[in-house]
């Protein structure tokens, strides 16, 4: 059974789920539950809250599934609901989605450069990952959203534009800006 939302097979799964087929609904959750959780966890860094919001997202989806009729736009619709759930919760709690460490930018001073050698030491890789996470966390909220939707949820730029309800050109420009900023912070181009 395909889980590609653009295929007729998955459309059939959605149709059966909206008609009350519990097995079909389970297929939908199996296909997207982890991705929704990963996105929410990346944004809030709280496992318990991420799972709670994941459940809330799918509860919302299942109640509105019968009204869903946009062929091939299930993923943007699903992740937009998840993002809205997160925003509502963060607004209720009165804080931003991601806790940005105060010393993030200061740690950038000691960030190891990206080495071309893939066989670098494990400790160095861990340090690199930590630095990259902090660099992402230091970006603007809107730029982080794009990176998380791309790298965590696996959405295309077109789908990201649909999730954020912004023009595709805006999303591409913001991604380019965030990517460039990350490269600067990680010293990617300095070796060239």
């Amino acid at each position: 059974m395909s889980t590609d939302p653009d295929t007729s097979g998955f459309q059939d799964v959605l149709r059966r789920a909206s008609a009350g087929d519990e097995l079909a609904w389970q297929q939908v959750v199996d296909a997207y539950g982890s991705r929704v959780y990963a996105l929410l966890f990346s944004r809030c860094r709280n496992a318990e809250l991420a799972e709670e919001l994941t459940q809330s997202t799918f509860c919302t989806v299942v109640t509105k599934l019968s009204a869903y009729d946009e062929q091939g736009k299930f993923e943007p619709w699903l992740f937009r609901i998840a993002m809205n759930r997160l925003r509502d919760e963060m607004r209720r709690r009165g804080r931003h989605a991601v806790n940005v460490a105060n010393d993030t930018l200061s740690t950038m001073e000691t960030t190891p450069r990206i080495e071309s050698d893939p066989g670098a030491g494990g400790e160095q890789q861990l340090e690199l990952s930590r630095a990259l996470r902090e660099a992402v966390a230091s970006l603007q909220e809107s730029d982080q959203e794009i990176l998380h939707l791309r790298h965590v949820s696996g959405l295309s730029f077109k789908q990201i534009a649909q999730v954020l309800q912004q023009p595709l050109g805006t999303v591409l420009a913001r991604h380019f800006r965030a990517f460039k900023r990350l490269k600067e912070m990680m010293g990617v181009d300095e070796e060239d």
């Binding site: 789920a17 389970q26 991705r35 959780y37 799972e51 799918f58 509860c59 990206i114 696996g154 990617v188």
Partner: protein, 187 residues
């Protein structure tokens, strides 16, 4: 559950970067994916999500439940008792109605009837003893006062009470299309 799809969370196929990016950029992009894109879900996550959402699914897609009335089970004795109480109330009510509507027999005091026609009222104050007032009250007939009600109502009528109706009649005469009073006026 053999139909459940198998999609490991690390097999996401991300859209490749465009031609504006270099190979080094693509390597860096892959590094970002490996670093922030790998999030391990807690075990049993999907099962819990399914369990939480299945109730909503059933409620959304299930048939609308009809409210089923409660089956009342009462003993036969209670039913007979309730029926007897109803009959008793019915008999008592009928007796009260008959008592209130039946013409009274001649009063023992033989007092005079109150005239139904309007009579000039003697406004001269008459001293009546409390005992005599009680006798008058007992011998008076409420029906006689009812006969005076048209005069009371007439006395309260004012021009404003009738002017609206008069205007409506005039409108109906001048404009039969209105049909206010269903009048057919032919000049």
């Amino acid at each position: 559950m053999d139909q459940r799809p198998v999609q490991p969370e690390h097999t996401l196929s991300r859209e490749p970067l465009g031609d504006d990016f270099t190979d080094r950029d693509r390597q860096f992009d892959q590094l970002i994916s490996r670093t922030i894109g790998e999030v391990t879900s807690p075990p049993g996550l999907t099962d819990r999500v399914v369990a939480a959402s299945l109730e909503e699914l059933r409620r959304t897609t299930g048939p609308i439940p009809f409210p089923v009335g409660r089956v009342r089970t009462r003993s036969v004795a209670a039913q007979w008792l309730a029926m007897a109480a109803c009959l008793g109330l019915l008999v008592a009510g009928g007796w009260l109605v008959m008592q209130s509507t039946a013409p009274r027999a001649a009063t023992p005091t033989g007092g005079e009837l109150v005239a139904s026609d309007p009579m000039p009222v003697d406004v001269t104050p008459v001293a009546i003893s409390p005992a005599a007032e009680l006798v008058l009250l007992e011998t008076s007939r409420p029906a006689a006062f009812d006969d005076l009600s048209p005069y009371v109502a007439t006395r309260d009528l004012r021009f404003d009470d009738l002017s609206g109706d008069l205007v409506a009649v005039l409108d109906a005469i001048q404009n039969p299309v209105m049909g206010t009073y269903d009048l057919e006026f032919t000049p």
